[in-house]
């Protein structure tokens, strides 16, 4: 599903990040552990096509992505990648439901209320659909982020520190939901984190 080899990236000439090669199959989960400054977010942004690597390759379904143009990357990202950011950010003027539908709209897909309702039921946030996102708790916001990442049935889900702001109980719940939902739609799940609590939950672990 997703395979990358010898990715490298540098913000300036002093320091260059060289990342190990790895791959992640459909329905599998890969945990990438690393402390601050080891390039976790950089790696995630490379995989999310938000940054262009200096060298190496990223393949999804054997299509090379590292060399796509900005426009093609945007389209690719919107339709095939689901991204969960470290801090749950939303369009604050819109309701939870509209924030979910926004993912459809911006990817030029049909706005599917059924899909939003289904995901909300699965993630236990169906009662919150009409609320503004700023009214939700941290755990609830993170679940809405997950729902949003799943709205377009992506092939790969990328999560950047999804649990770092959550307590143990919510951490456990969110990871469970994330894993189950990815398996449901048959997506590859890649979690980038420094959160040592997650170590025991996964078999495939890479340490940066």
């Amino acid at each position: 599903m997703l395979a990358c080899s010898e990715l490298s990236f540098s913000y300036d000439t002093k320091k260059t990040f060289n990342f190990p090669s790895f791959s992640c199959e459909k329905g599998e989960t890969l945990l990438i552990l690393g402390n601050s400054g080891t390039g976790k977010t950089t790696l995630l942004h490379l995989l999310a096509l938000l940054l262009t690597p200096n060298g190496g390759s990223i393949k999804i379904n054997n299509n090379e992505l590292a060399t796509l143009s900005a426009k093609e990357s945007t389209k690719m990202r919107a339709n095939h990648l689901g991204i969960i950011y470290q801090k749950p950010h939303f369009v604050s003027s819109l309701s939870v439901l509209d924030n979910l539908l926004l993912a459809n709209y911006l990817a030029d897909q049909k706005e599917s209320k059924e899909q939003a309702q289904k995901l909300a039921n699965n993630l236990g946030i169906s009662g919150l659909l009409d609320k503004k996102t700023s009214m939700l708790s941290g755990g609830e916001q993170q679940r809405v982020s997950i729902a949003r990442a799943l709205m377009n049935n992506p092939d790969v889900i990328l999560a950047d520190e999804p649990t770092s702001n959550l307590d143990d109980e919510n951490c456990e719940k969110v990871i469970q939901l994330l894993e189950n939902q990815s398996k449901n739609i048959g997506a590859a799940l890649i979690i980038v984190t420094h959160d040592q609590r997650l170590k025991d939950n996964f078999k495939n672990i890479i340490t940066l």
Binding site: T42, L50, R77, A78, Y85, S93, L102, L106
Partner: protein, 399 residues
């Protein structure tokens, strides 16, 4: 969806949006109101002078003579002898001379002594009753009858002078014998009677003070006279001749009205400039509001960009916010100016007996619409260009 996001963003920042709309509303309302007032006053003034070539009266300010005799809004310049005016009317160039005699009022409505030619000039029609014939019989303009609450058969005592607080002629009552149809001219707000009635009332009054008043050889006085010429030649020679060689003054309405509008124009232009400045400030407030919100929403923008939005789409979304704000301001401004015109026309028709009611959209307001739109677009476009400079990855990683 794009429109929905813009609209939700406007609602999300209620106070900011309110301020932008309020400023735009004020600017638009002021300009629109001035345009409406200017146009309608000009229409009104032009209509009332049509057909009147010259006004002859006592020496004084020519503008005052026109305002008092044609528009019935200023005090007369004084009285002149009917014989003197009649002598001028003998000139073969003169087609028609309509004498006017004023001096009394009822509840602020002027009582004008004149003859049938005045009615013919304004092409009036009797709505009920008949024309005045006998002594102290009057015919009312439509608005006078309505506002003074008089009907055919009623009698009233006039007050001396041109404001309703004047001394009452209690011993002689006028009798209403007819009411005119609505004429959309100055006649609507007048009380018309024969010259004799006006003379009689004042002679009667004078008897109390001076015995000589009964003298039958007394020279009759009038206030002014409206003159129409047979040919433009009259216009060329007579005003100059009258002003130089007689005790009378001749004033040309067209010239005086133009002068009046030149004076008014300065005021109107000044106010329009002020209104344009208010519109500009509204534009700046849209600018500041969007600029600030863009800074706050930088992460939101980066997020939407990462979710597949093109920068142009987001740019349009922000532009739409500016357009919606300025359009709402425009609509509210036009509505406000109509309310203003309504209130002003109410106040004016009581005080100056002018009725300025016209609510249709003016052509000038289409330019105003385009102007408002441009202010909105420009004010939104400048800060929104920032969209094209957002570094998605950096913004998502650091904020």
């Amino acid at each position: 969806m794009l429109f929905k996001i813009s609209w939700k963003n406007i609602l999300y920042k209620k106070l900011n949006s309110f301020l932008c709309i309020l400023l735009m509303t004020l600017g638009i309302a002021m300009i629109s109101l001035l345009m409406l007032l200017g146009k309608q006053l000009q229409d009104k003034f032009a209509k009332n002078i049509s057909g009147i070539d010259l006004v002859v009266g006592a020496k004084g300010s020519p503008l005052q003579l026109i305002l008092s005799s044609v528009y019935q809004i200023d005090n007369p310049t004084g009285n002149v002898y009917l014989d003197d005016v009649a002598a001028i009317a003998q000139n073969p160039l003169v087609k028609e001379m309509i004498p006017l005699s004023m001096g009394d009022n009822y509840q602020g409505f002027r009582i004008i002594g004149t003859n049938k030619k005045y009615f013919e000039h304004f092409k009036t029609k009797i709505a009920s009753g008949k024309m005045f014939k006998g002594n102290l019989e009057v015919v009312l303009g439509a608005s006078t009858a309505q506002n003074a609450n008089l009907k055919v058969g009623d009698t009233f005592a006039s007050s001396h002078g041109l404001d309703s607080e004047g001394e009452k002629h209690a011993e002689n009552n006028y009798k209403v014998v007819g009411i005119l149809e609505y004429n959309n001219s100055v006649v609507d707000n007048l009380i018309l009677t024969s010259l004799n009635s006006v003379w009689n009332i004042h002679e009667h009054k004078d008897e109390h003070h001076e015995e000589e008043a009964a003298d039958s050889t007394i020279k009759r006085e009038i206030t002014s006279a409206i003159i129409k010429f047979r040919s433009p030649m009259g216009m060329m020679t007579m005003p100059r001749n009258i002003n130089q060689n007689s005790k009378l003054q001749a004033a040309v309405p067209a010239i005086e009205v133009n002068r009046l509008f030149e004076l008014l124009g300065i005021g109107i232009e000044g106010l329009q400039f002020l209104a344009a400045v208010i519109m500009l400030i509204s534009g700046i407030s849209v600018f500041v509001s969007l600029y600030n919100s863009l800074k706050e929403r930088k992460y939101e923008m980066a997020l939407m960009l990462s979710m597949g939005a093109s920068r142009t789409r987001l740019f349009l979304m922000l532009l739409l916010e500016g357009i919606i704000l300025s359009l709402l301001g425009f609509i509210a401004g036009i509505a406000l100016s109509r309310i203003g015109i309504y209130l002003i026309s109410n106040a004016l028709s009581k005080k100056f007996h002018f009725d300025v009611s016209q609510f249709s959209l003016q052509t000038g307001e289409i330019y105003l619409f385009v102007g408002a739109l441009l202010v909105g677009i420009l004010a939104a476009a400048i800060p929104s260009i920032g969209i094209y400079r957002i570094n998605i990855s950096k913004t998502l990683a650091t904020e």
